[in-house]
Each structure stands twice: as C-alpha cells, then as structure tokens.
C-alpha cells in the first residue's frame, strides 16, 4: 500500500479556492513531479508552467507550503508537512489561471529600473579590459546569476504593500549594471532606482535573500544602491 500525499492546489484566478488531490508518494519525488502527476492522471484542466525541469530556467516557480520555490528542485520529503502539501501561484503577481501568473509586471519593473546594459563602445573600439578581481566587478559578479524567476518578487512584502515598488530582482540587476564599468546609463539608472518606489523603500526584511534559489542577496545589492544614490544626491550629481 503506497503512502499518499494530500495535495491542495489553487484553482481559479485571484478569487478561487484550494482543491485537494490524493497523490501516491514516491522516493525522490519533486513537487513538480506531483503537479505533473495531477495534471496527467487526475485533472487535465490544471494549468501550470515548467520548462527545463532541471533547475536552470526558473519557470516552475510556485509557492509550496507558503514559500516560493523552484518546484523541480524541491523534494517533497524536504517540504511536506506530515502528508500535506499546499501549492499556490507566486504572490504579488496577477493570477492568469491556477498556478500560472502573469509575469509582465515583474519584467516591466525590470525595464523601469533600467535593467538593460547601455553600451558606449563601437565595433571600431578595442575590447574593454575588465579585471575580474576589481572591486566593482566582484560586486557585479556576486549578483549577476539572476535568471528572473520571480521568487524574490513573490517573497517581498514591500512589493505587496507598495504596488509601485520596483522589487528585489529589478534592483539587483540595476546594481550589477551600476558596477559595470562599460555601461553608459549610470545617471538614468540611479534616478530610476531612487526614492519611495526604489531602493530606499527596502526595509531589509531579507525574505528575498532567504528564498532566492541561487542564493543571491538582493538585499545586499539594494543596500549598495542606497549608498550610491544617497552619495550622488549629497554630491549634487542627481
């Protein structure tokens, strides 16, 4: 007789309800395995996202027992509460259906924070020489591995409390570009991340750092932005 899991899954849109399924428990089972089993064997109308299923793309991010995770990299045995799992879509984003959220606001804020590299060199110029040991490059490298999965954005309560708050991922990316000596949009980027909707609204909850599947620290990046923006304002550069 196999052990069974009691899996509650969010169905519907913003208003909806949890629906419970009985799922056979297996060794080395991930939460993504559980969701896939439900959709293929129990209820084909369940909607969810996944892609690589090996922890590289971030598409399968969902809330499991209250915390946002990559479901393909989350073993059931690590998170199960007795025999219960509760699976919801990411917080702070519009729910399209069931476990699928609209990621547009997340990426819109990425753009608002000027999270794009602005080159200043032409094809006629020589390569930029950036030492990987330089202080700025070390700071950029510490934050560069973000794949835009949205877990930190879901984890952040300031995003919940202030709808126009740019959020940890967008500002983490801005920080990597501020520390990129080749970039030419420093002033616009500092302006973009300043103030109540920007880095100064971060209260160091550190839920983002706590939940980032790549162990990045958006809190550290945002602290860097706070210092840099304040310094620029004090020097009259902003």
């Amino acid at each position: 007789m196999t052990d069974m899991l009691k899996v509650s899954i969010w169905r519907g849109r913003e208003d909806g309800a949890l629906q419970t399924f009985d799922v056979p428990r297996r060794d080395n089972q991930t939460v993504l395995d559980v969701v896939t089993y439900i959709q293929r064997s129990l209820d084909p109308t369940l909607s969810y996202r996944f892609s690589c299923r090996v922890g590289m793309c971030g598409s399968c991010a969902m809330q499991v027992n209250g915390r946002a995770r990559w479901t393909c990299r989350t073993h059931v045995s690590k998170v199960v509460d007795g025999d219960a799992l509760e699976i919801r879509p990411l917080s702070n984003l519009p729910v399209v259906k069931d476990l699928v959220t609209d990621m547009a606001p997340f990426f819109d804020k990425w753009a608002q924070a000027k999270g794009q590299f602005k080159g200043t060199a032409t094809r006629k110029d020589d390569f930029a020489r950036v030492s990987p040991d330089s202080p700025m490059r070390r700071l950029a490298n510490a934050a560069i591995e973000c794949i835009g999965c949205g877990v930190c954005y879901s984890a952040c309560d300031v995003v919940s409390w202030k709808p126009d708050y740019l959020g940890p991922a967008a500002m983490n990316r801005a920080w990597t570009l501020i520390n990129d000596e080749r970039d030419g949009a420093r002033r616009e980027r500092l302006e973009a991340v300043a103030g109540d909707a920007g880095c100064h609204a971060c209260h160091t909850h550190m839920s983002c750092t706590e939940q980032c599947p790549k162990q990045l620290s958006p809190t550290a990046s945002i602290a860097g932005l706070k210092r840099t923006v304040a310094g620029a304002v004090l020097k009259g550069e902003l």
Binding site: V158, W161, K162, E191, A194, G195, D196, A197, G198, H200, A201, H203, K226, V229, A230, V233, L234, L238
Partner: protein, 113 residues
C-alpha cells in the same frame, strides 16, 4: 514629493539615527544608573538645572527625535494604510513640529526647574 526629496528623507532618517545612537546610549546608561533605588525630582533637577551641557544634549536629542520619528511614521502609514501625497506629508510634519515643541518645553522645564 520628488524622488530626490524622498532620498533626502532617507538621508535625514539615517543621519538622525546616527545622532540618536549616541544620545540614546547616553540616556540609557544614565537611566540605568540614575533610577537605581528610586528617582526623585531633586535628583533629576539637581543634574539639569542651570546646566548648559545637559540643555545642549537634550536639545540635540529632541531635535533628532523630531526628525527621526515622523519619517519612520510616514513609512508605517504608507505601508499599512496606503496613504500617500501631500496629506500624509503634512500629517507627519505636524507630528514632528509637535514633538519639537513639547520636547523643547520639557528640556526648558528641567533647565529652569
């Protein structure tokens, strides 16, 4: 309120925090020392009456609190109730002025008492 003004609020909050760190440390040590075995008006006023040093210390303390408190309150009100704009800024500004007035009165009271 412009983004630059909001940055100035953040700077003021951190600067007043640094000032308060020193003031509160002194105040806490003093309170722990002074309240041992009871407290009397004579003890307090004996220290503060006519003392320009304590007047200056508590004056700076009150000024820093009048900056630090309202800015913190502003964040709490925005994040809890979603208030923003001129009304909120005016409201916390009034709180700041009130703290400055009542605190200044208290500092004056123990200087002249």
């Amino acid at each position: 309120m412009s983004a630059r003004a909001q940055v100035w609020l953040w700077i003021a909050q951190r600067a007043s925090a640094a000032v308060l760190a020193l003031c509160v440390l002194v105040h806490l040590v003093l309170m722990i020392y002074a309240v041992r075995g009871g407290l009397s008006a004579g003890e307090i006023l004996g220290r503060t009456r006519g003392s320009v040093g304590w007047l200056a210390f508590y004056g700076v303390f009150v000024a820093a609190v009048a900056v630090h408190g309202p800015i913190g309150l502003r964040n709490i009100l925005t994040e809890t109730f979603g208030w923003r704009g001129a009304g909120l800024n005016l409201g916390v500004g009034v709180v700041g002025v009130a703290l400055l007035f009542w605190g200044g009165r208290a500092v004056f009271a123990v200087f002249t008492g």
